[in-house]
């Protein structure tokens, strides 16, 4: 998990009035904090028809335009997630014709891997991505927030504006569905000590 990508430390309360007033430094700091998070959400939740960079840009502009409507710093993460979800849905609708967006297939492989392991790893990542994208949206969101981004379940519940119990039951269903579909797609069985590779 890359460091510095969690939302918990973002938008400290004492800055919020500055953010709402549109103070340049406060807005810059806000962008600095959450833009990486938003880009990752776009990549992991957007699906093959969404250009994550373009979607993240659009979300940034929506946030800058509408941030004054968010009354408190505590409400910001769930509001931001709702904006992301809405913009991603618009992008999916807008780009029906695109069957697969090449930029969505992110290729991040360490320089010291062999061509064979590189190819194998790429295929595995693409297969995992395909399984995630086929999950129903409600399950996909919980799985990405908790198991991919390593957020706590209460944190995911706050982001999704859902009761903790709902997040727990969705997570359980998401993990089962993911495992079943991964098996159906012929992915290698998961093992706890499987080498993670990459960076």
């Amino acid at each position: 998990m890359s460091p510095g990508l969690r939302l918990v430390q973002t938008t400290p309360a004492h800055d919020w009035t500055d953010v709402q007033r549109g103070e340049p430094n406060a807005l810059e700091a806000l962008l600095e904090e959450w833009l990486p998070v938003v880009l990752q959400w776009c990549r992991r939740l957007g699906g093959p028809r969404v250009d994550p960079d373009q979607a993240a840009q659009e979300i940034a502009i929506v946030v800058l335009r509408r941030i004054h409507t968010v009354r408190a710093a505590a409400a910001f993460p769930s509001w931001l997630f709702a904006v992301t979800r809405r913009v991603l849905a618009q992008h999916r609708r807008r780009h029906w014709g695109i069957r697969w967006n090449a930029s969505a297939a992110v290729d991040r492989v360490a320089a010291d891997t062999t061509p064979e392991s590189h190819t194998q790893r790429q295929e595995e990542i693409a297969a995992v991505r395909a399984v995630i994208q086929r999950l129903p949206q409600t399950l996909r969101e919980v799985l990405v927030l908790v198991d991919v981004e390593e957020r706590s379940q209460p944190e995911a519940a706050e982001l999704l504006s859902l009761p903790l119990g709902t997040v727990k039951s969705r997570l359980r269903r998401a993990r089962l569905t993911f495992a079943r579909q991964a098996r159906a797609d012929g992915l290698r069985p998961a093992t706890a000590d499987e080498p993670s590779g990459g960076e």
């Binding site: 990752q40 960079d53 335009r65 990542i125 129903p136």
Partner: protein, 315 residues
């Protein structure tokens, strides 16, 4: 397995990070926060100036308006342009650019555009006194001075405002006031239109929640005594099944069977048996079994009997 994360997801996370160089590139493409904030929230002085200009304009109009305008010429024209863009000017203040088909009636001061299919962009000179209305089978859009477009396709009627403001009344009954850079889509008003929208969304890969939302509106407007009602439930059945919601899928299947619909009956009955068995609903399975044709009944009968036997043997 469901108590802990799958290690393959960890590996996926490690290969999909937002790297600093990518974030920097994204930041370079964004406008500065100050520019965006300024363009959205003009200072109060600007509003005061705009208010004063508006008041002066109103006063000037009251003083200088013509006292007796000549009666306007009646309008009646068919608008059709396929594979290109048609253009039409109505009087001195309204300009239409369109791809698709519709017609225009009324007169230059009160044009009434009836738009059937495709996209039409309209420019109305502000404060020209023109009262323009665009109607589609799904929506009515009223406007006095602005630039906006109306697009009608399988998804409904999409109204998008570039400048000025328009009011949109969807045929379903909801009203919407749109300002610059705002848009609204009115859902199709008929069950057939809603089914077409749901299918288009599904084919486009829209989230199943969104497709099911459209289907729910359609199912509320028509019953299972019509073929479209059956098709709406059948698509909902398929989506709920794909989304791993067997109980919801079974409810749609049983609703179709109980309505006595003949359309897709075999497929629905077969789905009902499978779904009911997967959820342990032996009565639902028996109901699906009864609707199956004889050869398939024989194939499933033993399994459904076993379900009942097992249910009886459980405490």
């Amino acid at each position: 397995m469901s108590d802990r994360p799958d290690p393959r997801l960890q590996s996926f996370a490690e290969h999909t990070p937002a790297r600093p160089d990518e974030i920097a590139a994204l930041r370079r493409q964004l406008p500065s926060p100050v520019e965006v904030a300024r363009s959205t929230r003009p200072p109060r002085r600007t509003w005061m100036l705009a208010g004063a200009t508006l008041a002066a304009g109103l006063l000037g109009w009251v003083v200088l308006r013509p006292t007796a305008a000549p009666p306007p010429e009646p309008l009646s024209a068919v608008l059709t342009a396929q594979g290109g863009t048609g253009e039409l000017t109505l009087g001195a203040h309204v300009r239409l650019e369109y791809t698709g088909s519709g017609r225009v009636e009324g007169d230059a001061a009160r044009p009434r555009v009836h738009w059937e299919r495709g996209r039409i962009a309209l420019t109305v000179e502000p404060r020209s006194g023109v009262d323009l209305e665009v109607r589609t089978p799904d929506a009515a859009v009223a406007v006095t001075g602005t630039r906006f477009s109306v697009e009608r396709d399988l998804l409904g009627t999409h109204v998008s405002v570039e400048r000025g403001s328009v009011s949109v009344r969807c045929v379903g009954g909801s009203d919407h006031a749109l300002g610059p850079e705002q848009a609204h889509t009115c859902l199709p008003a008929t069950p057939g239109g809603l089914l077409a929208r749901a299918r288009a969304l599904d084919e486009a890969g829209a989230p199943s929640e969104e497709v099911l939302e459209t289907l729910a509106v359609g199912m509320a407007t028509t019953g299972l005594d019509s073929p479209i009602g059956v098709e709406l439930h059948f698509l909902a059945l398929s989506l709920e099944r794909q989304a791993d919601n067997p109980e919801a899928a079974l409810a749609h299947a049983l609703a179709i069977l109980r309505a006595g619909a003949s359309l897709r009956r075999d497929a629905v009955a077969s789905a009902a048996v499978e779904l009911a068995l997967s959820t342990g609903d032996c009565d639902g399975a028996a109901e699906g079994l009864a609707a199956l044709p004889a050869p398939q009944q024989d194939a499933w009968a033993t399994t459904v009997d076993a379900c009942h036997t097992q249910a009886l043997s459980e405490p």
